[in-house]
């Protein structure tokens, strides 16, 4: 019997939410453990085995010189590399540093800033190495994670639709929070995958899955304004989980030039 494929989970700059999503797959974990050999997952096990790895799940963004080197080493060791979560796919919340002076932050936050060795930017994995698949979200969606792993195991393409959150909202039969309640919502420009989690609780989408392909953000901004958001609030809406996603950067920069 051939040995099972190996699975490695790697952490870069991030919280632990996306790794926890894997551990949250409680009903599936034993089955998964029977299908793959988990060879690197420090969050779950102290057993660390050398590569190469059939699948690497990479979470977190690149924010240090050491991480810049480490991600290349992991890529070389990995047959399939999947970037998981907003940090790994767009730079995460910590990419807010990209728009300001990180040295100032460092001096403000740390008593001894000289011990902090960090880059001026937080960048996604795909800015450094080729990535096979990206799972969006803060955190990722467990069903999408299982979909990618199941697809890999059987050798098919995973189903990761590049469409708006609205399509998931409507398929669930939910009532639009923006149209019926006037609640600001980023769903019309946000990449699907969460299953319309926030609208299901009558909250507007926070955009944690980042922009879908070719979103029409200016058209949404008019509606956010109609929902009562002021310019600061609109900027904040695009400067959260995926602040450094190019479509969101472009919008904030455009609006700044308009306001001046």
């Amino acid at each position: 019997m051939p040995s099972p494929p190996t699975l490695a989970i790697w952490k870069f700059t991030s919280c632990d939410g996306c790794q926890l999503t894997l551990l949250d797959c409680e009903d599936e974990l034993l089955t998964l453990a029977g299908q793959v050999r988990i060879t690197h997952f420090p969050e779950a096990s102290s057993e660390v085995l050398p590569g190469p790895y059939d699948v690497s799940l990479v979470k977190g963004s690149i924010t240090t010189a050491d991480e810049q080197l480490r991600i290349h080493h992991i890529r070389e060791q990995s047959h399939v590399l999947v970037a998981i979560g907003a940090c790994a796919t767009s730079g995460g919340i910590q990419a807010l540093r990209n728009f300001t002076d990180v040295a100032q932050f460092r001096a403000l936050v740390y008593a001894s800033p000289e011990y902090i060795d960090t880059l001026a930017t937080s960048t996604p994995i795909a800015a450094h190495v080729p990535v096979d698949y990206e799972l969006r979200g803060c955190p990722i969606d467990r069903r999408q994670l299982l979909e990618v792993l199941s697809a890999f195991l059987i050798g098919r393409k995973p189903d990761l639709p590049d469409t708006s959150v609205c399509t998931e909202c409507k398929r669930r039969g939910l009532t639009c929070v923006m149209v019926a309640d006037g609640t600001p919502c980023l769903g019309p420009v946000t990449h699907a995958g969460c299953g319309a989690l926030c609208p299901a609780y009558r909250r507007g989408c926070f955009g944690c899955f980042g922009p879908m392909t070719s979103p029409n953000i200016p058209a949404l901004v008019s509606q956010l304004r109609a929902c009562g958001l002021n310019e600061d609030a609109i900027q904040r809406a695009f400067r959260t989980f995926n602040a450094a996603a190019p479509a969101f950067i472009e919008e904030v920069q455009y609006r700044r030039t308009q306001c001046r």
Binding site: S164, T167, N216, A219
Partner: protein, 381 residues
């Protein structure tokens, strides 16, 4: 069958009809208030009908409004349509077992009773019948559900701000395709319903509740009320040959203009009661021993929708909006023998950007009219 004379029932009579359908084993689906809207959902009791609720709708805007009376059908289209029951957003087509044998989905054995189907929506169900069950390759699950569905229709007496069924000739009166058709009457504090019978099944259900024979006056007043509704539509589709207009408008500058406002979020197609497109997804479990194929709603506004090897055929939003409206209003005639639009106004109200299909068509018609004048102004030869 001989068409029985119309009768009048009161609100307890309506409740009796619904209870009768429930007792008969129907899964009763009707309007009810949930999450700031009048949605369509399974009813456990006739008390869940949206009594005393109306709706204010305009482009990109929908609000519930309390009514002084106890009207239960005085509201225009909500965020959902009957398509979500007849042609569900997600359904399994087949599954396979480890020994590689397949089981095609035999479909649910549900018998739906739809309560409060308006003219626009009854026309939409008729269109879905043609599209999904009328061709050489009938959708067997749809056809089965449809055959088993009881339709309690309502003549619309309360059109909303985005309604335009009078101009698409699909309402406000229901003309065919129902088991029972009601007209809600609220005169002098008396809440009643004129009931017309469409089928024997309708007559059988109706026989279970107290009723009185309708007078000629009852029928005339109800008809007058529906006729007045036709004059109170919030919107109107331009009365031109839309099939031709869209055909001629392929290169219109309007498409780029709409694209600047369109979110390509696909809400319009998802709420449209006749948009029927689907895609399929193949799912396997972690062991790979169990595989399933699922069908789910898709939309021509999704970039994946027209993806062929190497890229999307319609990468621009302008091309996607043009595709949607051209199919809906023009090429639908070539394909299915009618327009695909029934004038329910859902795509207008539930577009977060408030894009109004009647206004866009009016602009196309205006541009086309101007174009023709320009041409006629040119000297011959």
């Amino acid at each position: 069958m001989n068409t029985p004379a119309a009768v009048v029932i009161d609100r307890p009579g309506l409740d009796g009809l619904i209870r009768g359908l429930m007792a008969d084993g129907y899964q009763v689906i009707g309007p009810t208030v949930r999450d700031s809207a009048i949605v369509l959902a399974e009813l456990d009791s006739p008390d869940q009908l949206p009594a005393g609720w109306g709706v204010d709708a305009s482009p990109g805007h929908y609000r519930l409004r309390p009514r002084e009376d106890g009207a239960v059908f005085a509201h225009s289209a909500g965020p959902q349509s009957w398509k979500q029951f007849l042609h569900p957003a997600r359904q399994r087509l087949w599954s396979s077992r480890p020994d590689r044998t397949y089981t095609a989905e035999s479909g649910d054995a549900l018998r739906y009773a739809f309560i409060g189907v308006r003219g626009c929506d009854l026309a939409a169900i008729g269109i879905l019948d043609t599209v999904l069950a009328g061709g050489a390759h009938s959708d067997s699950a749809y056809a089965r559900r449809r055959r088993a569905t009881f339709v309690l229709a309502v003549n619309c007496t309360e059109p909303g701000g985005v309604c335009f069924c009078a101009s698409t000739h699909t309402g406000p009166a229901v003309t065919a395709g129902y088991d029972l058709a009601l007209t809600e009457r609220l005169d002098a504090g008396e809440h009643g319903f004129l009931v017309e019978v469409g089928t024997e099944e309708g007559a059988r259900i109706l026989a279970q509740v107290p009723q009185r024979r309708a007078t000629a006056g009852d029928v005339e007043e109800a008809q007058a009320e529906v006729a007045r509704a036709a004059g109170r539509m919030g919107r109107q589709m331009p009365e031109v040959d839309l099939r031709d207009l869209l055909h001629q408008s392929r290169e219109s500058p309007l498409w780029e203009d709409v694209a600047s406002r369109c979110l390509s979020c696909a809400n319009c197609t998802m709420v449209c009661p006749t948009c029927f497109c689907t895609t399929t997804e193949d799912v396997t479990d972690l062991t790979g021993e169990h595989a399933e194929r699922w069908q789910r709603w898709a939309s021509c506004f999704e970039i994946d929708f027209s993806y062929l090897h190497g890229g999307s055929v319609r990468p621009s939003v302008a091309s996607r909006y043009r595709q949607w409206i051209s199919h809906k209003l023009s090429t639908w005639h070539d394909q299915f023998g009618s327009s695909g639009c029934v004038g329910c106004g859902r795509c207008i109200a539930w577009c977060p950007a408030g894009i109004d299909i009647t206004a866009e068509v009016a602009r196309l018609a205006e541009d086309a009219g101007r174009g023709q004048q320009d041409v006629s102004a040119q000297p011959a030869g």
